[in-house]
Symmetry: C2
Subunit: 213 residues, 2 copies
């Protein structure tokens, strides 16, 4: 990959999908996989697979396909999955607990280092792994002590900005925001938003379009 | 909008964001809004706002902006938010409960008509609104009786395909899939995937890129 080449976000999203399918193939004992098969497993077209992987070099052998273990290692390196990332969750309602207990995140090296809330009913509650829900007031100290690099916001919309500011004060530069609102952060901070309402809107729009067709 | 024009998914996503900001503006008593202000609130550029709305007609007045209430009504119509949609959730763990209790979904007209699980510990558990968690075996009947049009899958990956098949048997043609796996459905069924691992992968990739810069 040339340093100046900007990789589309959609490519990164698909690399993550390829990775999961390759893991399953490896588990099933496959040693090689064609771009056609990988594409079929991910429900996209083979040219897309070849284009996506082409950004990062020549991984496949023409007419044969990709070496499963080799391609897994390459994608792992590209996606920085060859190291662990510590994240902290703010807001320990149902969604916060769902993230905390998400098996796939842990398997991929995303470790929940600490969970926070501001409710006295929740602070001190034991969590799997022997830790407890911490007071949100401890967020800044915990970020430093536990080397938290990613902040996850699962609070109601009304608290999201306040929590984002706390993560920023602790020098966390990547936030995954589930609160149904946009948060304002400086350019140095990366944000990915997951907004259930927006995605439901998209589905409803397409459904209505389909009904009208 | 011409019938043949395909609206990009990103435009629909942004319309949903505009809608939320317009609701807040209306609540705060604003009657007009410029594309600059709307763009600023959504953290995008004003030309994008004008382009997105341009797909659907001429809503604004040059040099003045958009009438807040009028634009809300237009987007509501475009996104089919001027009607309610019934959805059913399969898998009542933490994530299922988070979706069920998501205030914004209900406010936007997405109503959880029924919740299902296959665990005997959960079946029969009371839910807010006077209903109970149903046996997944009742899914097909409930879809018909309760007019469920959208299926939400919040099961583990291992059950996702089985549940998707049940929704399809019940003639649900839109699925929101949270399970960390791809589901196979015929072309007649719309699917939106929300995969926390994929989004965390994207964040980690960007973070590593930033660190290397």
């Amino acid at each position: 990959m040339t340093k100046t080449q900007k990789i589309p976000k959609a490519t990164i999203t698909r690399l993550s999908m390829y990775y999961r399918q390759l893991e399953l193939l490896e588990f099933d004992g496959y040693r090689m996989v064609s771009s056609e098969k990988l594409a079929w497993l991910c429900q996209i077209n083979p040219a897309q697979v070849r284009k996506d992987l082409g950004y990062f070099g020549e991984f496949g052998v023409r007419g044969v396909g990709y070496d499963v273990i080799d391609l897994l290692a390459q994608i792992k390196k590209i996606l920085s999955l060859n190291r662990d990332w510590n994240f902290g969750i703010a807001g320990m309602g149902n969604l916060g607990c769902a993230i905390l207990l998400h098996r796939n995140l842990a398997l991929r090296g995303f470790k929940c280092a600490a969970a926070f809330d501001n409710s006295h009913d929740r602070i001190g509650m034991p969590l799997p792994g022997g830790t407890k829900i911490r007071d949100i007031k401890e967020l800044k100290t915990a970020i430093r002590d536990l080397n938290i690099e990613i902040g996850v916001i699962t609070t109601p919309a009304s608290s999201a900005q306040k929590v984002a500011d706390l993560f920023l004060e602790g020098h966390v530069n990547a936030i995954l925001n589930f609160a149904p609102t946009r948060i304002n952060v400086p350019d140095c901070c990366l944000v990915e938003n997951i907004d259930f309402t927006v995605i439901m809107d998209i589905l409803a729009y397409k459904l209505r379009e389909k009904m009208a067709a």
